[in-house]
Structure formats: structure tokens, C-alpha cells
Amino acid sequence: MISVQACLDGILLGILFALIAYGMALQWGVMNIINIAQGDLVILGGYIAYFMYLYGIHPAWGVIVSPIIMYFVGIAIYKLVINKVVDRDLFISILATFGISILFMQLMNFAFGADVVLANSDYGTTMLFNSNVVLPNSKIFSAFISILFAICLVIYMKKSKLGRAIRATAQNARAAKILGVDTEKVYAATFGINAALCGVAGALISITFTIHPYMGLPYTIRSFMIVIVAGLGNLPGVAMSGMGLGVFEEFADYILGTEFRIGSVFLLLVLILVYRRFKLSRKREYLK
């Protein structure tokens, strides 16, 4: 029964990870930037929902308010920093976003304090299998909202004018520019949408789990991992690998103990990258 519990927990958690990873895949594909500050944007979104909770508004409304605020935060970050590193070396963008990450981490630490906080949603729990498996309703709610947002975004990317412009820029930025797409605007919008997705995810995380100013980096690493396992632009893959990661984490938590949870995530990243390297090198072998 404990494994059923871990599996269900992991899947619900993984859907949230997949939402964050979708944002990362979007900006990676369009702007060729790896945003180390992704996780910190998530945490910032979580604090917005937490503050609404503190002022007596139900934190679930954070799902709507937080992405709107985060969209403008994302645009501001783009205008200040990212647009200067877009065409540069990838390492420059990694280091610049690392700087943003440290900046955000510390600003949040000052603004909100270094306590682990949680916005209580009072959703109760659902019992399954003769109450052997306990699922908080907030987790089910957050998974449902994540799927809803993901579907909305996919439809938006397919149908709307901006969505088509974004996809065109991802395919070939120069050609898109020639055909009259304002790539600068597209980049800004992409980063904003990414930040908004992080805001949604953060609000959901503040309801279901806990948030803390220094917890950003693991979310970045998780989404990076999901994207490299699934590949850019492979949505079902992102969802599946997100759930897989969630289940892996729950089991690692259960078997190794909570203190090794984050460590096992980072170790898994290293293992995946090394596996990928050997797989790719086998493909290259015949060149020798």
C-alpha cells in the first residue's frame, strides 16, 4: 500500500514538475537560454499566493493572480538582463541567470524571512482503498489546475497569432524576422509566459507543499532534467518524464530518507547526463 501511496503522490507531484518543465522547454526552444532562475521564479510565485493567504484571501485565487504578476516580472527580467544575453554564448546566459537566481533568493529571504511556509487551503483529504492511501485534495486540485493550464497553453500556441509567431521563431529566428515577426517582442512574451507558468506552479506548490527562499535550485534542476529526457517540443514526453521523476522522488524519499531527497535528484541528473553522453557517443562511434 505504501508503494501505491508513493506512486500516486509522485504522479500528482510530477504533473506540477511537468508544468514548470514546459515553461523551461518553451524558452529553451525559442530563445536558446537555460534559465537557472526558473526555480526562484516558482518560489516567488508561491510567495504571492502565500501573501494572499496571509491577508485572508483563499490561496487558490493565487493561481489566477500570481501568473499575472509573474508575467510582468518575467518581462522586466527580460528587458533588464535576458535580452542582452540572448544571442551570446550559452554559458554567459547560464551565469547571468545564476546571478539572477542568487539575487532573487536573497531578496526573497529579506522580504519574506527564512522560514518554511505553507498556505493552508483547507481542502481536506481523500481516502482510497479502505483509507490505506491518503491523498490531500489540494494535491489533486493542483494536478487538475496544472493540466488545465497546460491544455490552455497548448491550444493558445496552436491557434493564436502570438503562439504561431513564437513557434515560428523557435523554428528559425532569422526566417521569422524576415517574414515580419518582431522577434524581440516574441522573446519578451515567451519569457513572460514562462514566468507566468512558474507563477501558477509556485502558487500550487505553496498550497500543496512548502516554500522556502532557498528551495529554487532543485526546481530548476528537475525541470532541466525533464526537458533533456523528453526532448524539446515533446509534450507527452514532458508529462510522462515529469510523472516519472515525481514517482522516483517519492520512492527515494521513502527508501533513502528525506535528507537524501534533494541529493538523489541531483545525482539522478548527473546519471542521466552521463547515460545520454554514452548513448550519443555510441551513435558517433562509426565516424572513427
Binding site: I94, L95, G99, I102, G257, E259, F260, I262, L273, R277
Partner: protein
Amino acid sequence: MSISKNNLILYIGILIFGIAAPFLFPAFKVQLSILCVLIVLATTWNIQGGEMGYNSFGNILFYGLGMYLCASVQVGMFFPLAEWTESGGEKTFVHTPGQFFQGMAVGLVVAAVVPTIVAGLIGYSILGLRGHYFAICTLGLGVAAGEISGGIEIIGAGQGFTTPPFPDVGNLESRGEFFYFLSFFVLILTFIAVRGIYSTRFKLILNAIRDNEDKAEAMGIETMKYKIVGWMISAFFCGLAGGIMGGLVGYIDSTDVAFDGREMGVFMVLMAILGGKGTLWGPIIGATVFHIFKEGFWTFFLGWQYVALGVLIVVIVIYFPEGIMGWLREKYPQRFGEVIDEKDRKAQVELK
């Protein structure tokens, strides 16, 4: 490796200054030792980041490993390690001066050798990654090491590990002097080694890997071998630096002191970039400027220093990616042995 007359005077001047420094500025001995360690870290990061083009966030792994190993050996040679960490560094066990120095010597050797071996072992898998995959993978390695070592009981787990206190040898000043000269010695060792490397074919191969790895491979260079050796050299000195830093700080915490990817791991990258990647003197100048800035202005930002650090990273990376040496090179190209054709330069100016 040949040394010109001007350079010889410069080196001797620096050497004399280095030996005299702790007596000239007795209040800054700890700061000067930290500066030496920072220069070592920046210079060895530059072997990959600058010369080889492999931007690593993971050299902190070797630094932290060296720190833990040196302290563990120093304690474990004479006392049971588990009891030491459990007592939280209370003075139940006291090192005699002989034991302390003996332990430190053996510990430093272990702290240098083991990370080198680790680098050699993981090098084949990790260094096959390219570009940003390498950067993120090494970042993951550093953080994973910190998280995992924070869960291991025998080295203090979450509560930290107190390194052996400096023994009482009668003179209060001797602790600072000992660590200063130790770190200065390692600095000189690093400088000689790196300068030696940079004047051989090895450096040219590293540069070839940076500029175009596939082409270098096609030219018949076994790139993987050279990459691993380059990484092992870095690991050797990072481990040494870590061992010294552990003794200097006196307290090891898994994520805040040893595997401090957020601070030291970024500092070494930042210092090398600030000074100028891919030059011999760049990381040294960068580390010095960075350390003076950090210690001089940190107090003004009291509490806001990490905010300032984040802003500093962004500003340096965006507006100053060539570093101080790159800027100097643009300004005084003749000094770097670049010949400029006056006609060509004028023609370019006219074109503008």
C-alpha cells in the same frame, strides 16, 4: 620555460612582498591567506574554463572533498573520528603540536591525491558532455555532493565538523603565520605548475579543444586524454586549497563551507571572468580585485551582500565578459605582442 629579465624582477618582487606581507599587515593575515586560496581556485578553474572551454561549476566538488578529507585524516590519525564529530569539537581530544603538523601534512597529501583520482575516474563520463550540459552536470555534481555529505553521520552530517584547533606553541601569532605561509606556498606551487603547463604543447592542445574540439580530434589529438589530465590538475590544487581552507576556517559545514556551490563555486568562475579568461595573470588579478572589493565593500552592504553579489555577477557577465585582461589587451595591444598594421587600422577607422 624561459624567464625574461623583466619578468624575473617582477617575480622576485612578488615573492619578497609575499614573504613580507604578514609582517607588514599583521591584522590581515587571515584575509591574505584567503586571498591566496582564492587565487589558487581561480587559476585552476581557468585551466578548464578559460583554456579548455569547459565551463565547470563542479570544481567545488574537489575543494569540498579536500576539505573533508584533510580534516578527517588529521583527526582520524590520532583519535576515533566518530567520537570527535559527535562531541562537536569540544576539547575532549587535544592535538599536540607534533600530532597537528603531522596530521596536517598527511591530510594535505590525501586531500590533494584523492580528488585527483576522483577527477580521473569521473572524468571520462563527465567530460564527454559538451557546452551547457557539462555546466549543468557539474553544477548538479557539486550540489549533490553537498546534500549527500550533509547526510553522512561520521563527518558530522548536518551539524558540521570542527577541524582540530591550532595547537598551543607559545606564540599567538603563529596560527595566522602558519596558514598564511602554507597557502602562499601552495599559491607559488600552483603558479609554477600552471606557468609551466602554459608554456608547453599541452596548453596549445587545450586551446585547440576550446576552439574546435571535433577538428582537434580529427587532427589526431586524443582530446579525451588531455581533458581528463587538465581536470585532474585542477582537482589536485582545488583539493589542496580546500584542505588549507578547512583548517583556516576551523569549521566545516556541508553546504555552507565545503560544497558551497552558491558562494565559492560561483566565486571562482566570477574571479576568472573578472580578470580575463584564458590568460595567466587574469585570474590572479581578478581574484585580487574581487577579494579587495568583497572585503572592502561587504561591510557597507551589511546583510545585503548576497544581493550585491547577484547584481555583480549579472553586471560582470553582461557588460564585462572579457575581463580586465581583455580590456587591457584591447587598449594596449602592443604590450601583448600583437602587431598592428597602422595602415590597416586607419583604413578601418575611415570605413566607420
